[in-house]
Amino acid sequence: MSEALLTDLLAALDVMVIERLPDSSFTVVGNIPAWFTWLYTDAAANPQQLRLDLTSPFLENFLVDAEAFWNESRPGQLKSGSWEEKGPSGKEDNLEAAALCLGDRKILLIELLGIAHEERRRLLQIAREKALLQSQLIKETQKKEILLHCIAHDLVGLLMGVRVSLSLLGSESLSPTGKDYLTMGQRQYNQQERLVNDIVQAFSAEMESLGTFKLEADKVPNLLSCTRQVINELTAMASLHKVNLQLDPATDCHREWKVVGERLRLQRVILNLIENALRVGPPFSVVNVSLHDDGVNVILTVEDEGAGVAAELVGTLFQKFAPTKSGQYGFGLYFCRIMVERWGGTIGYAPRPNRGSRFWVKLPKFISP
């Protein structure tokens, strides 16, 4: 194929071919395409001595990389990535440059990106919109789930109370009318319970396990790996707060720390506790996370060197809508408590002897049947 045909072909593909001459000047091979003149009228004035420095700062910047590429006569091509250029009509065009060596000739290609680029942009647009939506959705769902949990927990809790009271009432000696009323009450209770169950089930499949938490042997969480994962997630935040977040070096990492619980929720519980600790920890302090084993339970402890919890708040720390001081402890601890208690564990707080808080979670060890 003759060179002329080749440049015609490239021109038809909206690719402009430029050769870098040994005297560091650029010359156009073939004709200057209309779009180039349109975009860079000044630069296109002299095709033999193409003033690429009059084009765009982007191309100028790319030429530094291109020179290095040409000097090393590297194989293949060096692509600039796309850039946008606004023509006189206000329409935006996307271009991409590539440097390559043909024998000892140094070639620069500039391509006007057409539909393919627009498609790519649209694809990325959709992907990013979706990514935004998804992260928004995840945040929303998390918020809703916690709220729903608390609501369901409270509803079920109250119902339990009603049921027990009715049963107790049933064991009293009641007048026949009293018994009638009791039956009525029990019927109402049954309906209410069914309704609550329906609602809870409709909201989420996970919720089903609210009343009866069942542990599946293959999904038993390992407290250590959960903790590690959370610590990893929070490293950036810790370094921002200049707090040293560490897993207690004395923790035995070679054994299994299987506990009763659900992995994802357990992680959220740990996340809540550590996040609180990071928030209150003064700069250059340490937040220490450790695991212990008392034979029956595994105890996770999160210690910080913050101001500790004010005495008047200790009593209500794990209650919902607990009064908080400057938002240090919120709804989160209530969630932690109801989750941990569901797994048959306990959660607690104790001030540290000198300064700071110690939050602990005690969970039953998982014993394989």
Binding site: F58, G81, N94
Partner: protein, 163 residues
């Protein structure tokens, strides 16, 4: 005249392009239009009795689909680190980008724009965290490409550091 290259850095959809459009052309569009390549704009800013010609490199936001080439930062005099206040993860990303930039081109003047202050109610980044950034010696601006609040301030503050 002084020419200064300034790069816009930040996660995707934090509003880099919108900030540039607001600053250079005083326009804002509610619609999200992702940037795939590099857009270059110019704007003159007076600093004392001199005009500084800012060459604004609006780089595409980094995400799993596109990584920012550090070669785009060559010759930059400073940069704007843009964070979307409503998305906590964009702060993490900004911290990473800032570090990478420093490794690639050394210490450069920069300012942080906490964008979307018009949505302050749904911010996920609390004042305490922003205070931490300020304590690091960072210059932080609350801005909104939508209302224009703080936009001019952020750019001119950066320009002032460059003169």
């Amino acid at each position: 005249m002084l020419q200064k290259k300034i790069c816009m850095l930040g996660s995707f959809a934090v509003g880099k392009t919108s900030l540039v459009a607001r600053f250079v052309r005083s326009i804002y569009s509610e619609k999200y239009h992702t940037t795939v390549g590099v857009k270059i704009d110019k704007k003159q800013v007076p600093v004392e009795d001199k005009l500084v010609n800012l060459i604004l490199w609006d780089l595409y936001g980094e995400d799993e689909f596109q990584k920012v080439h550090m070669s785009y930062l060559r010759g930059a005099s400073g940069y704007l680190l843009v964070i979307d206040g409503t998305r906590r993860e964009t702060l993490d990303k900004a911290l990473v980008l800032q570090q990478r930039t420093e490794e690639a081109v050394g210490k450069l003047p920069f300012v942080v724009v906490m964008n979307k202050v018009d949505l302050k109610d749904s911010w996920e980044i609390d004042d305490r965290t922003i205070e931490e950034l300020v304590n690091k010696g960072w210059q932080v601006f609350h801005g909104s490409a939508k209302t224009g609040l703080g936009v001019e301030d952020a750019f001119t503050a950066l320009a002032r550091q460059l003169v």
